[in-house]
Amino acid sequence: MLGDVSETTLRPVTSPDGGPRNPDELAAALEDSGYLPDEGLATAAYLAFAMHRPLFLEGEAGVGKTALARALAQVTGRPLYRLQCYEGLEASQALYDWDFGRQLLHLRAAEAAHATGSAGSPDDVATLEASLYDRRFLLARPLLQALEDSPSVLLVDEVDRADDEFEAFLLEVLSDFTISIPELGTIRAQTPPLVVLTSNRTREVHDALKRRCLYHWLAHPDFDREVAILRRRLPEVTEQLAREVARATAKLRTLDLLKSPGVAEAMDWATALHTLGARELDPDVAARTLGAVLKYREDTDRVHALARGALFGG
C-alpha cells in the first residue's frame, strides 16, 4: 500500500501490520496524498502506528488536525470513522444503540405469525427473545464501527468539547480496544485502530487520558511549507499569489490578533483571491477579501488601520 522501499534504507525497519516502516516513509506517503507534515508530525504519526498508541493533537484551529486523520486514512487505505464530540455526548451516540423501533416491529411480526400458526412452547419464547437482540438490531456508532471494521482510522474530534464523564468512558475503550455489549458479548478489534484525538484546548483534558496518548502540539507551518501546502491544495492559484498570501498570513500571525489565521484561512483567502481573478495580492483586493482570513471586527479594524501598503505590499 505504501510502495516498496529499497533494502538499503539505513533506518531501523519495523513493519507493524504492513504499515509504514519509518517516519520518512510515512511522510513521503502523506505528501503524495496532499498532506505535507513536518518532521515532528510524521514521527508522531509513525509512532502512533508502531506503538498502537492514540495520537493526541493540540493546536490552534485550522492548522490541519482533522485533515491529518483524513490523510492517514487515505495513505493506509483504511476506512475513517469520525466521532465529533459535543457536550452531552452519550454512550448511545458514540458506541452503539439498539434499534428499538425495529425490535418492536419484529416482535409484532412474530406475534402476527404466532396468531395464525400453532401454539407456542417455552422454547419459542426464548428463541424469540434471543432473536430480539440480534446483531441486525444493533446500530453501530463510530467507536463500535471502528473496532468492527478493523483495521481502521478513528478520529475523535474536539474531545475537549465532550464532558468529563465521556472522557472517562473513552479512556476505557481506548485502553484495550474492546467493547462489551451485555446482550451480545465482547467485541474486540483484531488490529487496534489508529486513533487520532484532537483538541482546541477549550478545556484541560484529563491527565489519565493524555497519559495513554502521544502528545503533539501542532504549530502553524513555516513560510516555505505554507507555500508548498497552498500550491499543493490549490494548484490553480499562481505561485506568486501563493507566496504573497503566505507572507501576508505570516505577518498577520505576528500581529497578536484575537484569532490568528491558520492554514485553513490562508487557503480560503487564496481561493477567494483566485475567484476574483487576482494574480497577485494588491492592497485593494486584499482589503476586500479580508473577511476570508480575519473573523473578528476588532481584528479587521486593526489590520485596515495598520495595513494599506505596509502589510500587503510586495
Binding site: 518532521e39 514521527t43 509512532l47 428499538f100 425490535q103 418492536l104 430480539l132 484575537l258
Partner: protein
Amino acid sequence: MLGFARTLRHAGVGASPDRVEAMLAAVGALDVLDPSDVYWAGRLTLCAGPDDLDRYDAAFAAYFAGEAPRPARPAGQPEQRVAAAAPLDAGSGEGDEGEQPPETAGRASADEVLRHRDVAEMTVAEREHLRRLFALLVPASPMRPSRRRRPSPHGAVHASRTVRRALHDGGEVTRLLHRRSRPRPRRVVLLVDVSGSMSPYADALLRFAHAAVRAHPAATEVFTVGTRLTRVTREMRLRDPDEALAASGAAIPDWSGGTRLGEVLKAFLDRWGQRGTARGAVVVVCSDGWERGGTELLAEQMARLRRLAHAVVWVNPHKGRTGYQPLTGGMQAALPAVDSFVAGHSMAAFEELAGVIERA
C-alpha cells in the same frame, strides 16, 4: 534516559514513570543514535501540554550538551518583559490617599519578584481562625441548562425508554415516559490578584477559592494574577485547605510582586478564556484595581471578557471601607464591564460574594 527524565522533572515537566516507559518504547521504535529521533520520541511521550514544550526544549538542550541536572529551577523561564520601574501613573489613584497602604507604594513596582510564598509563616492562631471560618463556607454553584437529559415525570417523550418499556410488556405501549434537560453547574472562574498591594487579602481570597473548588471541582477554575498568570486549579483540588494553599504558594512565582492587570487579563483571555474557559462562565476578578501604566488595555480586555462571560463579578477588598470610592484608574476602567461589584474583606463579605456568584 532516566537521568534526562530527572532533569525534566527539575525543569517542571511532570515526566511520570509510565511516560518514561512510553518514551523508551518510542525510542526503541525509532533510531537511538539519531538526536532528532530521540528529541521527538521524548517530546511526544513526556510532554502533556504547550507549557511543557519550552521547558522540554531547554532541558533537552542542556542535558544532551552535558549539563548535570540543576536542582529546582523555578518552573518556566523568567519573562524577558520586565517593565522599567516607572513612577505611578497620574490617573491611578493619587486622588484618594487613604486607599493606598503606605508600604505598598514602594512594592507596587512592576519588576517581577520571583519569590515563593511560604504559607508556613502564618501564625497558628491566624490559621486556625481562617480554617474554622472557611470550613463553614460551601459556595453553591450557579446552574445552567444542559444538553444532557434525564428521566422525568414531565417533559418531552423519551422515545427509546418508552419503546424499551414496551418490549418488556410484550410489545404494548402502556405508558409514555418523559425526559427533560438536566441542569448542570455553570463554570466559575476566579482570578485572584496576588500582587503586593493585595497581600493582606490574598490568603483569604485563595481560601475562598479553595472552598469553591472543593464544592464543585469540575466546574471551577482558579488563576492567580500578578505580573503573570498562573493556573492553580490543580493545586486547589487538594482536599486540605492548608496543603492546597502551600501547593499554590509554591506554584505562584510572582507572589507579592507588582501588577500588570491588563496584560495578564489579556494572557488569560488569549490562552484560556476565548478558547472556552470564560465562555458562559461566571468570572470573578478579585483585585484592588491597582494597575501600573495605562488603563486602556485593561478597559479593552474587560470589555472582551464581558462579551465572553455569562457574568463578571469584581471583588475589591477596599470596597468594604466606609467612604470608599472606586477612583483608581484600573477600577474606573474596569467598572463599565462589571455586572456586580462587591467587597471581599470579611467573612460576611465572602458569604455575600458566594450569594452573588450563585445568583449570577
